[in-house]
């Protein structure tokens, strides 16, 4: 069966999880999400997950199955993201040796047969020839889709916008759904999300220590870490210290802006008929309409039953932005301003129907 790749991208905390869940409910689509989140260890080992040149089946399986330090550290301390559908009772793989694809993709695709699917995929992947990593990933996603007899596979990873160049190179035929959400709301959500906190704090540790503490034992600059930050080194890590660390929303806002600016520049090169930009606020405002248009873009057909079923997942959540003080709001606005400017320059703002020069905007 010819399969269609669909990739849902966003900065993270933008509604892309919701969209991929909705698409995963489509009768023709398989949800293969969070593969890239976890094979890159929350975006910190991207080069390792996308090696250049051809690689063997064994090396590819290593990318999928070798336990990764950051995600396992979180699990080991009881910090489980909602996206992690792994359950210790459902798999023989236990912390700290949970393979990346067992964090989410495999248990999502086979909730009651996690290890069975994992073993099945290993057998299949180990038959692959030496080939580019893109071809290995494609064979993985097609295998998962075929496992549930679907013709479309939908991959979404939190913060996947960072990978758009690599994903376009790997899957030039993919349809791309770009989820955009209000920067302030996204930043506030990032501030409290376990995965984003870990990624941002790892960056902080790396720049202050001079080395990535998860990749090196060198602690010669440890005295440059504050008392608060030193407690987040992997050898000293505690859930309390992690959750209590004061990560300013404005810093997340700056991060959002940076991702939007870089992501849009990369998306500029995607052919118009391969890209759909969806605003989370539009989805919440008119879920039936947006879901229908998503379905058409992804499958090329209408399925009203699915539209009604999937759109029911959309709920309006109260905004946390209103809880900010005026100075906090002002600072967050300033942090998100460059991101908004980049969106506006492409006339990429929600609830405005424009004649796009390059993008299909709904």
């Amino acid at each position: 069966m010819e399969q269609t790749p669909v990739i849902v991208l966003g900065t993270g905390r933008c509604g892309s999880t919701l969209v991929s869940r909705m698409l995963g409910m489509h009768p023709e689509a398989a949800d293969v999400s969070e593969v890239f989140s976890f094979v890159t260890d929350l975006g910190t080992r991207i080069d390792r997950a996308f090696p250049a040149g051809d690689i063997s089946a064994k090396d590819f399986w290593s990318i999928l199955a070798d336990p990764q330090p950051r995600q396992n550290l979180l699990l080991d301390h009881g910090l489980q993201m909602a996206e992690v559908t792994y359950r210790p009772s459902a798999s023989r793989y236990q912390v700290p040796l949970v393979p990346p694809i067992i964090q989410s993709m495999v248990p999502t695709a086979a909730p009651s047969g996690c290890d069975t699917l994992f073993n099945h995929l290993r057998v299949l992947m180990m038959k692959n020839p030496v080939q580019p990593v893109a071809d290995h990933y494609r064979s993985l996603f097609e295998a998962v889709a075929a496992y549930s007899d679907k013709r479309i596979w939908v991959e979404r990873s939190g913060g996947g916008l960072r990978l758009v160049e690599r994903l376009r190179a790997a899957f030039p035929d993919a349809k791309i759904v770009h989820l955009v959400r209000d920067g302030q709301a996204t930043a506030l959500s990032m501030q409290s999300h376990i995965g984003f906190r870990m990624a941002l704090l790892c960056g902080l540790l790396t720049e202050c220590l001079g080395v990535d503490p998860f990749e090196s034992d060198d602690r010669s600059d440890e005295d440059d870490l504050s008392d608060e930050l030193v407690e987040l080194l992997p050898e000293r890590f505690s859930a309390d210290a992690f959750l209590e660390f004061d990560l300013p929303a404005a810093l997340c806002g700056h991060y959002w802006s940076g991702e939007i600016i870089a992501g849009l520049a990369a998306l500029d090169r995607v052919p118009a008929n391969s890209l759909l930009t969806v605003h989370y606020e539009d989805l919440v405002h008119d879920p039936i309409k947006i879901t229908r248009q998503l379905g058409r873009f992804v499958s090329g057909t209408d399925n009203e039953g699915w539209v009604r079923y999937a759109s029911a997942l959309v709920t309006k959540k109260p905004s946390r932005v209103s809880r900010l003080t005026r100075p906090e709001r002002r600072e967050l606005d300033e942090a998100c301003a460059p991101g908004f400017a980049a969106l506006s320059s492409r006339r990429c703002t929600h609830r405005k129907v424009m004649a796009p020069s390059r993008m299909r905007i709904i």
């Binding site: 975006g43 941002l200 960056g203 720049e207 990535d212 005295d223 300013p248 991060y255 940076g258």
Partner: protein, 375 residues
Amino acid sequence: MDNILTGATGFVGSAVALELLSRTKDAIIGIVRAVDDDAATARLRTTLHELIGGYNLDEQLHDAVEHRVSALAGDVTLERCGVNTLAINQFKGAVEFWHCAASLKFQDRHRAEIETTNVNGTANVLALAGCVSAHRFNSVSTAYVAGSRAGLIPAEPARSGQENNLYERSKIAAEQLVMKSGLTYRILRPGVVIGHSATRHTTSDDGMYGFLRNLIKYARVLDRTRIGLASDHEASLVASPKGNLDLVPVDHVAADAVGLASADAPQGIYHLTNPNSTEIKEVLDVCFDTAGFPPPRCVEQPDGLCAVDRKLYERMSFYNSYLVNPKTFDRSTVEAVLGHRAMAGKMLDRNELESLCAWYVDYNQLGRQAVMAQR
């Protein structure tokens, strides 16, 4: 006169050792952490040989190092510094002690180490000096035991309760031990010690260099968050812009210290500081520029800082105390002894500050850009 030094491989201690070699014919005996006395001697001599080059000193000093410098294996945190008793007893009487060893850490998590090294360590060195009936005990402290005081700081005993941090508290306690020891003492209080006045060479990673290094790292954090954020961000910092910061070259500190000893200066407290101190704002502008930031705004209180600047303020909390409550250190006790021989001080204009910062960045290879997150 023999000179026994602790901290002789450290920034100030090594400069004192070299000044003693240059201006006297005395022997220098270091108490150095090593497996044995031979290794201690080798370690000290290696340090001094390297600094003769780094400070561009007279090449003849290399011979002086070989013939007049030795060391005993020891550790100030041990009782009587853990030195070989037989070896130390040969120095009874005609010996000048120089206690230069210290921990410059300040974080809460290092509380025990700071106390052990700076307070207990001083007690141990005093005990050792007492054993050999030292002629004089020179104790290197810091001018910033003045703590939160502002204005003219007299060369008098520091008051407890005004310290800004654990480091200052430990140095005040150490001074009090020295004053109560019964030994004839000189308490030497340098300002913020910087590299050599001519070559800018430094082995220090503390003081102004610690501030600069952490600023550079913070800039990298911002640039990693969003490319170009550091250069876009006009930071606010709690500082007194018109106040002065006492930056004093290490060779000037050593020259005044040894000058006082050579003149047999009386027991007392001496500020080894720069008569030409530098405006705080100038130092900040140069450090921020070196790190890739625009010049900072100086504010009086941290209340109105934005979240990003508050993180910077928290990160730099140790250094904040040097940027507020501007002080001028009274050098009258130094000048009373040395007169025109006292170090005249070095004018640190913007060019010189930039050169000092650039030297440190180049030497420590801090000039690389942020480790950009992968894409």
